[in-house]
Symmetry: C5
Subunit: 343 residues, 5 copies
């Protein structure tokens, strides 16, 4: 169940014990307890990147347990040419094998993370854009559900990027671990001297790792920005919803005022509608008088109430406050930022 | 009240003073003031992991005060075989005794933390899933109560993981503390040389501690993700509740408009219902006229108000704004993320 | 106004200048500019812990300005026995005097902080528990006021713990400062050699300081957890209040619907109540017909509106979304966390 | 436009070039590009603290461009005596001139920051206290405006404190920069030896800088606490407003219920008020029957609705939940915190 | 497609391979994989700042791919004179060429960042000022949209500043990288000795980089303050909207109370309006009695309800609570901050 690569690809199966023996590793070394790790043991580099488990020896790359993980296509189509050095995209084809192998695997890992980000990023932007749309009175709740899932995925992606960065950083922080990763240097001095025409292997390795560290950092930055955008958008959604509510409430209040006025003067009509003698029954002018008073009174009271509401919602702030803000800001920031406040 | 283990288990009780003497420790060393600590004193490793207090000597493991803590089962069923090296799951059976003992205890600690996380994790996911359900008009308040308790437990678990990580990190940061933990090296040079066929004890100890540090880190990552998920879900719950409210408010407003219209024209009916002479009493067409006017007028005014509401809630945003967003994003992110904004 | 302690307590007053001279310190050294500081000067340890100002010399402890601070009881009742070494609770009675003095003071400081936390902690838990009670429609505003005060106290406590930790950490980070604190070592080599039978003073001092650092850290952890609990509870309170409001709003809306229906068909009754001829006046069946129509129509329209509301608040989410969540989670977390989602 | 000080004050104007020459500095050194910086160049200390630009030479302090900044009073009234060593408040009068100058300037800076904090602090406390007042139904919006301005000032103050702390920390972290600041040591060995009777200049300088660093830290702590208090108060304000709203909503709902009941049974009255024959017209008992039924029915239905509302808002939580909380807390915290939960 | 500069500007096109050969660089070195990087390779400094790609050799500056980026104007108008040393604004004209080139590029980068901040800063302040205006009942939703876009831009700007700072910090942290950047020192010892009359090149380089690092830090501080201001303003907006809503709700409730009272007593009128015999029909006094009772009763009940509401919203807090707050604060802060609480 292993898969060997030097120039050409060979697939074979081996017992674990034989493999340990062949690589002079201990059982423990191949247990892959952590989801992401890069370690050097006895001139082999043992790598695990989530599903992908690999051992890099000075002249071959063993990928373990590769079946059923959706990696076959990548292994056959892309990994082999990259290791051969045919593929122009790799910068290390003049360097020993372990560089090519390590670069291919790290590149694969970064590509996977980037692909996950690319999947989540436009979906979140799309949803946020439709959610902050000021036309909407209420948030579309199915979109919120999808947003929640995507922001969950984003958190997981963020953790994975962090773990990847941490495992690279751990190596970058210790000079000797970088040295250990340059396995050719220790096993094959002849190749070492030949290939390193004025090139320091450890330094090259550091550059290679740093390169992928910075790529991961950029992914992390994008992720963080996206999280910030989600937070900001949520605030905007809340303000939007609250604003809508306030507008509706004012309308509601205005209508309640109208209904109240109508009830008040309607009461007068009801009073005259009672089967009780009011001595006005026979005077035709009284009908028009009372009816007119009812409608006019309602209208006047309503208008009164509306203007009362208008005054009630007005500010109690003295007008010089915006000026204070402006002056204050000019003072404290000095001439650095020419803030064009027109306020 | 102690419990000795070398190959076979012996349980016996001893006075504290005798124990101090036997281990050549001072009273202070066995006071266990902190909930989580690992220290080396006079070739003994003194460990406390919450309830579990243990002393590792070069060839035995003393567990103190083990009764009444629910630890008996673990001690008898699992610890003994692990220390014997029978248990295949431990990677250190070719190493001196203190490695086996330390690994068993740390493994127990990590398992305990993992078990606590496993208990809290599905409960929280379950509750969150039912709370963000967009079908719900109001949050189930008993579920909120349970969520609060679980998030409290999660915080405590987070602190415990942090404390565990810190105590491991403190050792990992100081080379000499790691050296001190390799007690066999100092007490039994013969065994040391025998067992260490090309293996550096201090390095093995570092690997062992680092292994558990990373396991704790993974637990910590999961905890942090879970906390983030709770936060995100709460935002979604708020937006959900707010949206529901806005929808209800609009309906309420629409009905208030209807009621207002009806009151307005009902007033006319009330006017004609008054026991006052309006000179129209005898004309049968007037009845139908006024009645029709009442119903039609109500309907028209209501429709008018509804369309006014519709216009009031419409956006005042010029249509090119989505385009601005899109352009802006394409500019600043370059070709990195192909954001499929359809807006 | 000073207070000397060696084996027995003596209280006396001295001029500042004499004191400087006696201790060969400079005026500046006893200015105590910071609220919390521990410094060594000329074989004296100068300590300030908020109100408590003390100078530790190799064989005496001077407490300055101790009156009127509520410290008298502690000084007389507890400090003297601790310094005499009678008190069994101190681990340092076999060590020189400055250890006993320093430990007594640090212990006092930690006890003070712990006491402040113990005062605030149950009050906050109590209030939070009564505030998150789902029975409550509105938060008790006087409890909120008390909560705010307590959370203010908690912040101040947090700062004090942080300052205490920082001042210990500053010493722990510099080996030579620890050495300077072991004043006996420098002033009294005879006592030093006598007391240090195989014990390294600096190491003992480091252990002592580390011990109190970790105690402060535990206090800090509890404080942080408590703050987190307050935040979580506030979210729960908000969701609670929002939920209550939504429930009330739905009821309100349902009743508004009822009122609207009644108004609509009441209009018909009002119409027939007008003093206008409708030609139906004499037909007794019409009365029952119209009355029945009014009540039935109101009921039907109301029912219609309620079912419309029911549909309006229903989700528009396709049913497979919970499944997506579950699958997604199983994928990304692998077998680590067996999340018992019941779908 | 310069201003010299040694024992007596002299004010004179000089060309920039002459100044450079005199101090053997380069043009660049006096450009003061950063708002806060302390650097040593050719035995001069160049300091900028926002508006204040100064050069400290071994025996004079030059303050540049001091006009129009509101600094004149401070310069004349306070700086001169401090530099003369007359002023008792300075601890460094037995030390060389640069100590006195540096201390005076740093003290001025800390005083300025403290003054700004003192200005903002009581205003914010005042406003917060009046805003969290549970009596208030709505927040006073002009106070919110003032709060916002003050919290803006607080942020700026926080940044300035941070920048001040960072610039001190940068010097404290590098031993050689501290050495460079002791200009007398390098320029005037005679004075140096004379003044330093057993005093290490670099150490004194470190103490001086550390002192101001800790003062700035205390300011920073107060600022952070104040920000936390603002956040907590905002939460309390929100809960207050929400609670008020819920209470009002319940009242509103109760009245809507009443109105609904009255409408429902009023419909019956309207029905009998129609000009239609109901055959009951002549029976005087029917009037009292129907009227009584209307009022009683309204009352009963309303009571029914109110009790329904009461039940609707009741909790669905089983009573053992508070117990769970309590037990849980006791378990996890052990005996450390005796939380007096009364369940 | 390249562009050479020494004293005069020459534009020419070259194949990549020739360029590599000429500069003795490898293909990989000129791939510019990261958006922001400064590296030294074989006595060339390779710089990328977003769109700008440049190679600094000891005596020329090559700008690659400069077309179509909007940089032409800057290159021709500003860069050339700066490199010639004519431009008085640069402090490094007495230093070797690479200093001038590096300073020009870093200055350009900082200017670009500053320009982006200057663009976003006043817009955000403007919008925030108009949004927190207490006069407004609802937030202007188109302004929210613009705010969201600007805060998105701000996040991106923050990331770019952080990346710029990190890349400078990485160099500042490693002494040898600074040494490598002083390319003249290694290639042209004669020029080196000539130009460095007592000036240490590495130190000058460190000062130059530090200068731009601090400028970037100031930009970062402004950005962070702006983000904080947005957050604070959002809280204020929420409190504003909530307050408005509460005020409107109280008015609404008061009117609902009025409507309820009118309905209650209107029911009496409706009762008397029924075509049923009540035996009072003929008594003219009864009309006035009932009508008066209706209006007076409505008024009284309404007044009753209003005063009930008034009592309901009153605080249940005992009056000494403000005092507690004040005392508490005075205790904990001591005399440091004289908080002018007027209670």
């Amino acid at each position: 169940m292993k898969f060997d690569k030097d120039g050409n690809v060979t697939t074979f199966e081996k017992k674990k014990m034989e493999l340990y023996h062949e690589l002079s590793l201990q059982a423990r070394d191949l247990r892959f307890q952590h989801l992401t790790s890069i370690t050097a043991r006895n001139n082999n580099i043992i790598i695990r990147m989530e599903a992908l488990k690999a051992v890099v020896t000075p002249n071959s790359l063993l990928v373990l347990d590769f079946r059923g993980l959706g990696l076959e296509r990548w292994l056959v189509m892309e990994l082999a040419p990259q290791l051969n050095g045919d593929h122009g995209a790799l910068a290390t084809h003049s360097l020993p094998f372990e560089f090519r192998a390590l670069e291919a695997i790290l590149q694969h890992r970064v590509n996977t993370l980037q692909a996950r980000l690319n999947e989540v990023h436009p979906v979140i932007l799309d949803i946020l854009e439709s959610l902050v749309d000021p036309k909407l009175l209420s948030a579309d709740r199915s979109k919120l559900h999808i947003l929640l899932q995507n922001s969950k995925n984003l958190s997981e992606l963020e953790t994975d990027i962090k773990v990847f960065k941490d495992s690279l950083l751990k190596i970058l922080d210790e000079e000797e671990m970088i040295e250990e990763l340059c396995v050719t240097k220790w096993t094959d001095p002849r190749v070492f001297e030949e290939s390193s025409l004025g090139i320091d292997h450890a330094e090259e390795m550091e550059l290679l790792l740093e390169n992928y560290f910075m790529q991961a950092e950029e992914l992390g930055n994008t992720t963080r920005e996206l999280k910030g955008l989600i937070d900001d958008s949520e605030s905007v959604i809340f303000i939007n919803l609250d604003s809508h509510r306030n507008v509706m409430m004012r309308l509601n209040l205005q209508l309640t005022m109208g209904t109240f006025s109508l009830s008040l003067f309607g009461l007068m009509g009801v009073a005259f509608g009672m089967n009780l003698e009011s001595t006005f029954e026979e005077d035709p002018k009284v009908f028009w008088l009372v009816t007119g008073f009812m409608f006019l009174g309602s209208g006047l009271i309503w208008r009164r109430l509306l203007s009362f509401l208008g005054r009630h919602l007005e500010p109690t702030v003295p007008p010089q406050i915006p000026t204070v803000w402006k002056r204050n800001q000019v003072n404290s920031k000095g001439g650095e930022v020419k803030s064009g406040l027109r306020g």
